[in-house]
Symmetry: C2
Subunit: 481 residues, 2 copies
């Protein structure tokens, strides 16, 4: 009955490092992958038309509340949220929000080929994508999906993630998604390893972590669901440093040590947790679900719901005709944000270990008040409508970065099933640590501390998780894909 | 800038063990303590009369919703909750519930005297206590308390827990309370060490952990707020085994090893977390706040709100006249449960390490669906009204225990500020592990695993945390206080 979990953990970290170092795969060379993706782009077409909200087949606006819901009662509902934050810059506002109480599954299936871990990835077109197919996890399914409310085909590979105890679970944790657009949304992020034979279906391919990491540097290719699951890979343990022996110097050494060093962190884990408790206990946020037609400063037409300023986001309708999806044709509401966002993480080497500057951020849809966010996360143009005091801390620093400080700079898409052309510029940049970066709602943490918190729900927000995946992708030397 | 957090943690575990082994204190001998408490009982009197709900000064029932709230808008509100759990034994019910969105502070101040850690405890009378004063943490305050909505005196010692970074933080985490009676209640549990001179006010005393542990064996003495904070003391690390060298054999050895052993646990921590994710992702619970006058099967009179069966709990009113409280006289609603509850934890030694049998339990007021509860937690008489299938798993096993299996058996009170004469029999009993204890919603865990989860919010429910404090109290040989 004895287990040897410590050495198991170390072994897994080494196997992950091995896969990260496999910058191209024997199974699917990146050159072939690009060709395969281009072919898919031709066949897996999806036509998306913006439709008036009032004309969506299968969706009804309640005559009493204005709330928009599917006639089956499943999927999601667009309703209103009233937010009160007495101490906030904007102490009270209301907004449309998506309510989707079901816990969905985002799963990556992993298998060893020729001694190297590969991830089963899917090229998937979604109505909100501004381009063609993007790289998705093996499974990306709401409960309505997999209980087949819309009478579509069964979700392929889902069986690996239901009753995962038959397989080796590498990570398994529920995480939040955009707290500005979703009310208490939770998805299960799960990574499972199998050694069974896995049939390879159309639209799927096996890639090493090193390959996925190279693809992360391509604009709008690795989708949000992939990124959040990728962030959960346990990059931990001193074993990593050994595996990455050739990367001991400079930035790479600092990054790799950051996955394992406890004693060189600026703040102990107890202090980090106490800080989170302090911030969460201190913020007074009260949210109340209200009817969509009770919103103030939002205007609804037959076509869409928009803020009077024209900023933030619109709620729009789309009609979709797809090949290669569970259902060939459907309508749905979507959130269409205004502008491209900026999501930036400042990093600095302290005590030879990389630290990241984390922001304890309030979003009204979070399950628990505050989550840890990147240093800056905003859509700069939205601040036109808000008081100057609302301007995000450190935005100026990010906008003043020199090119040689930038380590990662890619524009990536958010969830294409709910958000229409929602894109953020993801940026990682190195700074010299200094007192100008001290602020009560910000803390410097090592990656080990960050990743440790990722094992539990609701600590890191979805943008921070994306950036953790991007940071992982820098752990081996980057070469253009 | 280098820290040595590992050795700091070990040192703290040793100092905690030292305090646990101090079964009587030089500062306040237990004999003196008993005398002091008896004296207090005479002076710190509190007269509590049950009053009609409709006659509570300062409280109003909304003519539209029936919800009962304080005229200041602060403290708490009694409202209704509609609960839907399609797969549950009772798929739909509604009930009164207390809404108290403020995060309160439960804090214990710790200081070393003669090389031994002592806790600053308070003898406090509360309106719900069925007896006299009970032992409370140093501070037990809602935000309304400490912002002095009811114009009472300032909360003594509160300054140690606001901006705790000036002191040494031993534990600091927000935790839930009764999810059957509170909607999303959260309190900050915090333990802070100081080496400053601390003036000793009337009604307070310094006790070692060993003394508090002995007092835990006394019926209705150590109150709920103390128990939940006590559970957060970091009993961890192999150093403990050294400190408790005289307890290496039998049950004590098994208990002490359970705080430190990773490799001898039945399930790895990854598996435990994956199981929690699985249960939380699989349970479909939807709650909706409704008006108190929308409840089904509940009857409201001028006097009280009761379930038609006479079971579960009543909402009653009380009038309080107190000496030695922040305010001398007030009225308030309270929840008065029917019957005495049973809260039992089965434990077993596996691989020479104590494991506890944990239940993943749904309560409608939890922030996140499910929390880890003791093996059995119920009021047996409530099941008269419910279908046989609702009978709690393992209740029969607990009711059939032989006296020699019982390690802890004390009746303790729940929060006396909101609950009227709410008492549970807390039981810890040893069994032989066997297949009869396997069930999907139950898992055997070591104390180290349990305590590790306690560092984060919402894993262990308040009853489980009470029993963790009770288990801590068994780590040194028990002698009658």
């Amino acid at each position: 009955m004895l287990r040897a979990c410590d050495s198991e953990e170390k072994m897994m970290a080494l196997r992950i490092a091995e896969s990260v170092l496999s910058r191209d795969g024997a199974l699917t060379e990146l050159a072939k992958f690009r060709h395969w993706l281009a072919e898919l782009e031709k066949t897996a077409h999806m036509d998306v038309d913006v439709l008036p909200l009032d004309d969506l087949a299968g969706w009804t606006s309640s005559p009493i509340t204005g709330n928009i819901s599917h006639d089956s009662g499943k999927f999601f509902t667009v309703e209103g949220l009233d937010v009160r934050m007495p101490d906030g810059v904007v102490p009270n506002w209301s907004q449309p929000i998506i309510s989707q109480p079901e816990v969905g599954v985002l799963g990556i299936l992993v298998k060893e080929f020729d001694g190297v871990l590969h991830c089963l990835m899917q090229a998937k077109v979604e109505p909100g994508n501004h381009n063609g197919p993007q790289l998705s996890p093996t499974v990306q399914a709401t409960r309505s999906n997999y209980t087949q409310v819309h009478r579509g085909r069964a979700v392929p590979y889902l069986e690996y993630f239901r009753g995962p105890s038959r397989y080796r679970v590498i990570a398994d944790v529920r995480q939040s998604e955009q707290g500005s657009w979703f009310n208490r949304k939770r998805n299960r992020n799960i990574i499972v390893e199998t050694d069974e034979d896995v049939p390879l279906l159309d639209g799927f391919c096996w890639l090493t972590l090193g390959q996925v990491h190279r693809l992360l540097a391509v604009d709008d290719l690795v989708n949000m669901d992939s990124r959040t699951v990728l962030s959960c890979f346990p990059f931990a343990g001193t074993g990593l440093l050994r595996a990455f022996a050739s990367h001991r110097g400079g930035f790479h050494g600092s990054l790799i040590r950051s996955y394992s060093e406890d004693e060189r962190s600026l703040h102990s884990m107890d202090d980090v947790r106490s800080w989170i408790t302090e911030v969460r206990a201190g913020v007074d946020v009260r949210t109340r679900v209200i009817a969509l037609n009770e919103l103030r400063f939002w205007r609804r037409t037959e076509e869409r719901i928009s803020h009077e300023s024209g900023l933030f986001f619109d709620v729009i309708g789309v009609g979709v005709r797809a090949g290669g999806r569970e259902v060939a044709e459907w309508n749905q509401p979507m959130i269409a944000p205004v502008g491209t966002g900026l999501v930036a993480l400042l990093v600095a080497t302290v005590n030879e270990v990389l630290h990241v500057l984390v922001h304890a951020r309030v979003e009204p849809g979070y399950v628990d008040v505050v989550e840890l966010a990147p240093t800056v996360q905003c859509t700069p143009e939205n601040y036109a409508w808000l008081p100057d005091t609302a301007r995000p801390r450190f935005l100026d620093d990010v906008q003043r970065l020199r090119p040689d400080q930038v380590l990662f700079d890619t524009t990536l898409s958010e969830e294409g099933g709910r958000f229409y052309h929602a894109r953020n510029r993801y940026l990682i940049a190195e700074v010299d640590i200094g007192p100008e970066f001290e602020a009560p709602d910000f803390r410097w943490m090592t990656l080990r501390q960050f990743v440790e918190l990722l094992r539990h729900s609701y600590y890191l927000n979805v943008q921070a998780r994306s950036l953790v995946a991007c940071l992982h992708s820098l752990s081996a030397t980057q070469t253009a894909p």
